[in-house]
């Protein structure tokens, strides 16, 4: 019962206030008409609803006061401006013409193009590493990598919500994926923020960014091997922005732990992370950010692809159960003459990860213990040499050492790399006609396997609708 008047107050008042403001003086006759009507309604309700009457009376009082205040305020402002400039009246509170008024901001991303690979996608593997279902090559030929739709808006003064769904082709079928669906606080004091739902983990640098904002078509090998391209899951994130003179955020997350590198039923806490980023400027030309991350998961029957298998292949996977700990650092440095990134900019970026996994794998009803130490990282440089043109180079490398009590099972699972370290060098050139479109050409010399795989990718990324704001 106490909930209803609360709603009426919080939603009706601002609405009426808006109406009042937008119609300023001319509408005041209509408004007093409204108040009169309300009063008449009150009279008829009087006999039956004594309690409600009091509330309404209070409400009307509030409205009358508000009206008086706003008219006074508008009059006062108008006067003060008249004194100074006659031709620049204060703008009336205009309905926002852009991005919808009460509708959420909507934007759609189309990310497609052409892929050529000298290695068949079904011959791909990463010797020595477990691969999640996404950790493979993109299908060859023309295709849409993803079509993504994002809706976001304030829910109320306290919460903000965002939903991102992505459609992509998976062997002649269109797959719908809920990439993100989360609420976050927007009114917590002292730099705190809580996010809940499904979202990309805040670990590392690239992980929390949507893939169409990356500088290369594909994820670094270390992301492919360690995070199944990008780690998202259902859970809660708490972030604290410290009041320091430089940038410093600390965050912690707890997830159900359904997705690689976690895995399982997700009924408890299957994955948890800690991360922190600091950053600042060096003079006017340079800015930087450094980060540290830790991700701990408790995979239970985590599926990994066998070499040559894809996710629809029932016999194409093996399971891992045990513990997984990942430690990471990330660094970004950007330079632009006078800090003006409009014409020229150089970005250097790198991330490195170390992972320890202990547990057992099961492949076709046979088991072996697994004791795994894995490392990986990438470094990249992207240079904007003209306002619309950028070029970049990236080097990837992952390496590790796996041991277990049954080497034949580890060998079948492609976990015995015998000292081989998958690596790759990528070159890209992209053209950005406007803030809403980009065309990219990328060439990979991919040594995921000892045999070279040459990849050529032409990608277009376009954004329809709301103008997005970009992360550093």
């Amino acid at each position: 019962m106490r909930f209803k008047p609360f709603i009426a107050k919080t939603y009706l008042k601002p609405f009426l206030l808006l109406t009042l403001l937008s119609s300023t003086v001319s509408a005041s006759a209509a408004e007093s008409e409204d108040i009169k009507q309300l009063k008449e309604q009150l009279a008829s309700l009087k006999q039956d609803y004594n309690q409600r009457l009091q509330q309404l009376q209070k409400h009307i009082q509030g409205l009358e006061n508000k009206q008086k205040i706003t008219t006074d305020k508008v009059q006062h402002q108008a006067d003060s401006i008249k004194k100074t400039v006659s031709d620049n009246p204060i703008k009336p509170v205009a309905p926002a013409a852009s991005n919808g008024s009460f509708n959420p901001q909507i934007s759609a991303i189309i990310n497609g193009g052409f892929n050529h690979s000298s290695l068949e996608a079904n011959q791909y593997s990463l010797p020595g590493f477990s691969r999640g279902n996404e950790a493979g090559l993109e299908q060859a030929g023309f295709g849409i990598q993803e079509a993504e739709i994002n809706l976001q808006a304030s829910i109320d003064p306290y919460l903000y919500g965002s939903i991102t769904t992505s459609l992509h082709q998976e062997d002649n079928e269109i797959e719908v994926e809920l990439e993100e669906a989360f609420i976050r606080t927007q009114a917590l004091p002292a730099g705190w923020m809580v996010k809940a739902g499904r979202f990309f983990s805040g670990i590392g640098y690239l992980n929390s960014q949507h893939s169409h904002n990356w500088d290369f078509v594909d994820a670094p090998l270390v992301y492919r091997a360690f995070f199944n391209n990008q780690y998202n899951d259902d859970g809660v994130q708490i972030r604290w922005q410290l009041p320091t003179p430089f940038y410093w955020e600390i965050g912690a997350e707890g997830f159900a732990g359904r997705n690689f590198p976690a895995g399982g039923t997700g009924t408890g806490l299957g994955s948890a992370s800690l991360f922190s980023h600091i950053g600042g400027d060096i003079g006017a030309n340079q800015s930087w950010q450094l980060g540290m991350s830790y991700l701990q998961t408790k995979p239970s029957q985590r599926q990994a692809l066998l070499a040559g298998a894809d996710e629809d292949d029932a016999d194409g996977s093996y399971d891992f159960s045990g513990h997984s700990k990942t430690y990471g650092i990330d660094a970004v440095w950007k330079w632009a003459p006078n800090g003006n990134a409009r014409d020229k900019q150089l970005t250097l970026q790198g991330e490195a990860y170390h992972r320890r996994e202990e547990g057992s794998i099961t492949l076709a009803d046979e088991s072996s213990s697994l004791h795994s130490r894995q490392n990986g990282g990438y470094v990249q440089a992207v240079y904007k040499f003209l306002p619309q043109w950028r070029t970049g180079i990236r080097y990837d490398r992952i390496w590790g050492n796996n041991q277990g009590d049954d080497n034949s099972i580890l060998a079948q699972a492609d976990l015995l790399a015998q000292g081989y370290a998958p690596h790759r060098t990528s070159f890209m050139l992209d053209y950005t006609p406007s803030e809403f479109s980009r065309i990219r050409l990328q060439y990979n010399r991919d040594h995921s396997l000892p045999q070279i795989n040459q990849q050529l990718m032409l990608q277009f990324i376009v954004s329809l609708g709301a103008h997005g704001a970009h992360q550093f």
């Binding site: 400039v85 009246p89 917590l188 009041p243 103008h467």
Partner: protein, 306 residues
């Protein structure tokens, strides 16, 4: 483990206290130098102003840098242009800074464009027209008349945020208004010869100066807002300018001079790099300096052409 945690927290707490020496001052985060300068004029030593961009940076294309997030985290007032000028970076900074006092609708969120009559409000919204701003042209800082209602709004906000110094703000505001009105009268008198002076501009960011001084803008070098000209497009501009001669080709301090210089070589029309905002050149080191230098530069070219 526990002692380590304790140590960690005590370091954090120490940092929090250590890092707030400007506790008593109102922390103002100004997106552009002109608003930073205005905030300093009105606030004096009662405010600490951080300016997010310099005159050498394109305000459309600023990165949501960590340093800016840290500054907004500590800000009491975010003072920007609005009208979607900062749409590519300010929302991201506000999201990351987790500071509810400076979100839209709060006392700590002041957008200059809300206090000006915007020009060039598009009649149709279509990205085929380039990076259009739905609310109108946001580059309002080059009409000095805009500063008066804005200064009034700023005083109101400062009084709300820091009532103990209300009298100081009011006095400084009165002084500012008096001086500014005298300046405007002097500038308008000085700029009389500039009426109907024909100019070519690089980007459509001079509209408010044109409106104020009644300059006649022949064309822009950008085919559409935010889209650099191709050579074919510049050839067309060349033909146009030959038919309708201009006295100056104008570009802002953060823009590339290439297109303007190309046209200048072909037509012998002088190129003018105007300061555009406070700090745009050595003379434009204050709000008054910005207008003084802009008018003087235009007068010099206009005089030479006659």
């Amino acid at each position: 483990m526990f002692t380590r945690l304790k140590f960690f927290f005590s370091v954090v707490m120490a940092l929090c206290f250590f890092t707030q020496p400007s506790f008593a001052k109102v922390n103002i985060f100004a997106c552009e130098p002109e608003w930073g300068a205005l905030a300093q004029e009105i606030g004096g030593d009662k405010v600490a102003v951080t300016t997010a961009t310099t005159a050498l940076q394109d305000p459309h294309q600023i990165q949501a840098r960590p340093s800016l997030i840290a500054a907004v985290r500590r800000a009491d007032l975010v003072f920007c242009t609005g009208a979607e000028l900062e749409i590519g970076w300010l929302p991201m900074i506000l999201e990351k800074a987790s500071n509810p006092a400076v979100l839209p609708g709060q006392n700590g969120y002041l957008m200059a464009a809300d206090y000006a009559k915007l020009l060039e409000v598009p009649t149709r919204l279509d990205r085929a027209d380039g990076d259009v701003h739905a609310q109108g042209n946001p580059h309002i800082q080059l009409n000095p008349h805009h500063y008066l209602p804005l200064a009034n709004a700023l005083v109101e906000r400062l009084t709300q945020l820091d009532n103990t110094n209300a009298a100081v703000y009011q006095t400084r505001y009165q002084q500012f208004v008096k001086q500014w009105q005298q300046n405007i009268a002097r500038w308008e008198n000085l700029a009389k010869p500039l009426h109907q002076m024909a100019i070519v501009v690089n980007h459509d960011n001079w509209s408010y100066l044109n409106e104020w001084l009644q300059l006649k803008q022949i064309t822009t070098l950008e085919p559409k807002p935010g889209i650099p000209p191709s050579t074919a497009y510049l050839e067309r501009i060349l033909t146009l300018v030959k038919q309708q001669p201009a006295k100056a080709i104008i570009y802002a301090s953060y823009e590339s001079p290439n297109a303007a210089q190309w046209l200048s070589q072909k037509t012998a029309i002088p190129v003018l790099q105007l300061p555009f905002t406070v700090g745009g050149n050595a003379q434009a080191n204050s709000l008054a300096g910005l207008f003084e230098d802009t008018i003087q530069q235009l007068l010099a070219v206009n005089h030479a052409a006659q």
